[in-house]
């Protein structure tokens, strides 16, 4: 297969298109603006639709409209913009609509910075908007993985009728890597399969489509919530993805996601050359989180501690602690959003932990 050198943001956008996405609604914000820019040039070439919305609120509601027709639709933004989308995301989740939302996270809170961050972990995995709902959240660590996860994201959204979020950071979007792109999929909405979707043929269908999240009677709302929770349990059972790295004989098990996991791997590789074994569990799905897999790795014979590394003040750390369940020491190393930790810093932290083990 042919390798192409591509910038992350463009590769992600192209991968979405090749996964059958023909509708993109977005609003410019650094560091993801190259995604809408690419879409604005590419969509007209393939008969798709790129529309620059008036705001992220507008964009996510356009997504709601398009997703309700069963089309494959994407929106992309960065932290402050994703905060604005939360109202719409809650409605989309409650209305059981498939779509994909990209968050190219930057430093926060507030306007924060335009450099990479991971401070939206809580927002992505614990709700973000109002109500009891979950997004499936993918966190790629390389451009190739981001490409590969794009079609998985659309398929997962369709399979469960649930919105999917892909979180990345400016680093993944800005860097160029040699990648393999998948074949083009020409996705056609099949209304005999997506019987819930709106196509305007309400009169001639057995049942007209009603895309809605209002359930004024307690029993009806209970029914929606039971259905959603049942879906989440199935997702938890079937969709956990993670990477296990160098766990064999590890003294310490690291946890990290996205770009930070890649940097952590460099530290692990360096230490290995010095004869020190450190492992890594890298969640690829932040929700559902690989609780069991991390637990088992953390309590394996020979492991003496867990180190969670993040580009925030310690958000995934809470899930790491839940996974470990008090059965192992858990330490944290992080920077606030906007300056990446270096492999040397992580190495130093691991060495200092080793001294007291």
């Amino acid at each position: 297969m042919a390798l192409t050198l591509m910038k992350g943001s463009e590769a992600i956008a192209e991968a979405a298109i090749r996964a059958g996405c023909r509708y993109f609604f977005g609003y410019p914000i650094t560091p993801q603006t190259e995604i809408p820019e690419y879409m604005s040039a590419r969509m007209p070439e393939i008969g798709g639709c790129f529309l620059q919305a008036e705001s992220e609120v507008g964009a996510i509601n356009m997504v709601y409209g398009a997703a309700g027709t069963g089309a494959r639709v994407l929106t992309s933004s960065s932290s402050p913009g994703v905060s604005l989308k939360q109202e719409g995301i809650s409605y989309i989740a409650a209305s059981e609509l498939p779509c994909v939302i990209m968050n190219v996270m930057r430093g926060g809170p507030g306007l924060g910075s335009i450099q990479a961050g991971q401070g939206d972990y809580f927002q992505a995995t614990k709700g973000g908007g109002h109500g009891d709902y979950h997004l499936v959240v993918f966190a790629p660590a390389s451009v190739q993985e981001a490409i590969d996860l794009m079609s998985v994201a659309f398929d997962t959204a369709d399979k469960y009728r649930n919105p999917v979020m892909v979180v990345a950071d400016g680093m993944i979007c800005q860097m160029m890597e040699p990648v393999v792109l998948p074949e083009m999929q020409d996705y056609k909405i099949d209304y005999s399969v997506k019987t819930w979707a709106a196509n305007g043929r309400g009169m001639s269908k057995p049942q007209r489509a009603i895309i809605n999240s209002l359930y004024i009677n307690t029993e009806d709302l209970d029914m929606l919530n039971e259905r959603l929770q049942a879906t989440y349990r199935v997702i938890e059972a079937n969709e956990v993805r993670y990477e296990a790295y160098n766990l064999e004989g590890a003294e310490i098990v690291c946890t990290a996601f996205g770009t930070v996991a890649r940097i952590t791997k460099s530290a692990i590789d360096d230490l290995k050359e010095e004869g020190i074994n450190v492992g890594l569990i890298r969640p690829i799905t932040l929700w559902p989180f690989p609780y069991k897999q991390l637990h088992d790795a953390a309590v394996a014979p020979g492991v003496k501690a867990v180190l969670d590394v993040e580009l925030n003040a310690g958000q995934m750390l809470e899930d790491v602690k839940l996974a470990v369940n008090g059965e192992q020491k858990v330490d944290f190393f992080g920077h606030y959003g906007s300056h990446m930790p270096t492999p040397e810093e992580i190495k130093e932290k691991l060495l200092s932990m080793r001294e007291v083990l």
Partner: protein
């Protein structure tokens, strides 16, 4: 027996929840009849607002969405971009369209979205129990303007048709009322035109319907209609504000 009148098939048999004397019911019927008159029964998607018409998806007998408060024009945009051949309409109140959703309607108009917007102006927030709306008249008492709306404090009531008709992408804007048989007939014509223009490929098309809210105005249905005639129509003059099709 000869059938002299039939309820339009674009309305379901669900009983309206609207209060006695409320104009939402008449407006629903005109919208439904217009869709049927134009033969769009099996080629139409509606978007309901947050407001008293929140259950419109139970009444209009077609594919329907319920949008977040004020967002209907953005939702309708998403639908229309996937199905440009399908008739797409929103039905929105004045809190929905003229307050929380101004950004969405203004930009939908600027883009010239090929939509039909039915805008119910009843000078109050009906659903939440009678708070001040951006369309509440100066001096009008509501639960959040108990001393009457002060222009100095809250500004003047928003005139949506006047505002949107300034936008190049707005194709058709007309304000109607439902206070007499003659005006109901005019309103029906306006609504039908707003749908026809969309299907001819034009947008944005909006019909503002001056509407009563006897419950929250604290008036009987008859008094409410009189209040609308004496207070709303003078401030919100009826008529065509823009009609590119007639130019």
């Amino acid at each position: 027996m000869a059938v002299v009148f039939e309820k339009t098939k674009m309305l379901t048999d669900t009983v309206f929840h609207y209060c006695p004397g409320c104009n939402h019911g008449i407006a629903h019927r005109l919208v439904a009849e217009s869709i049927e008159d134009l033969g769009l029964e099996d080629n139409v998607i509606g978007v309901a607002p947050v407001g008293c018409a929140v259950f419109a998806y139970n009444y209009f007998n077609c594919d329907m969405y319920e949008a977040a408060h004020g967002r209907a024009p953005a939702v309708a945009t998403g639908i229309k971009r996937v199905h440009p051949e399908v008739c797409v309409f929103t039905y929105q109140g004045d809190g929905d369209l003229a307050s929380i959703g101004t950004n969405e309607i203004v930009h939908a108009a600027h883009r010239g979205e090929k939509l039909t917007v039915i805008f119910i102006n009843n000078a109050i927030y009906g659903m939440t129990g009678g708070q001040m709306a951006p369309t509440t008249l100066v001096g009008q008492k509501t639960t959040t303007s108990p001393y009457g709306r002060s222009e100095e404090w809250c500004g003047a009531p928003i005139k949506i048709c006047e505002m949107l008709s300034q936008i190049p992408g707005c194709y058709y804007a007309e304000r109607v009322a439902l206070n007499s048989t003659a005006n109901i007939i005019k309103a029906k014509k306006a609504i039908t035109k707003a749908f026809r223009y969309q299907m001819e490929g034009h947008g944005l098309n909006i019909v503002e319907v001056l509407s009563t809210c006897p419950t929250n105005w604290g008036l009987s249905p008859v008094e409410a209609m009189k209040w609308l005639e004496e207070n709303m129509i003078p401030y919100y003059p009826l008529g065509v504000y823009k009609d590119k099709g007639a130019e």
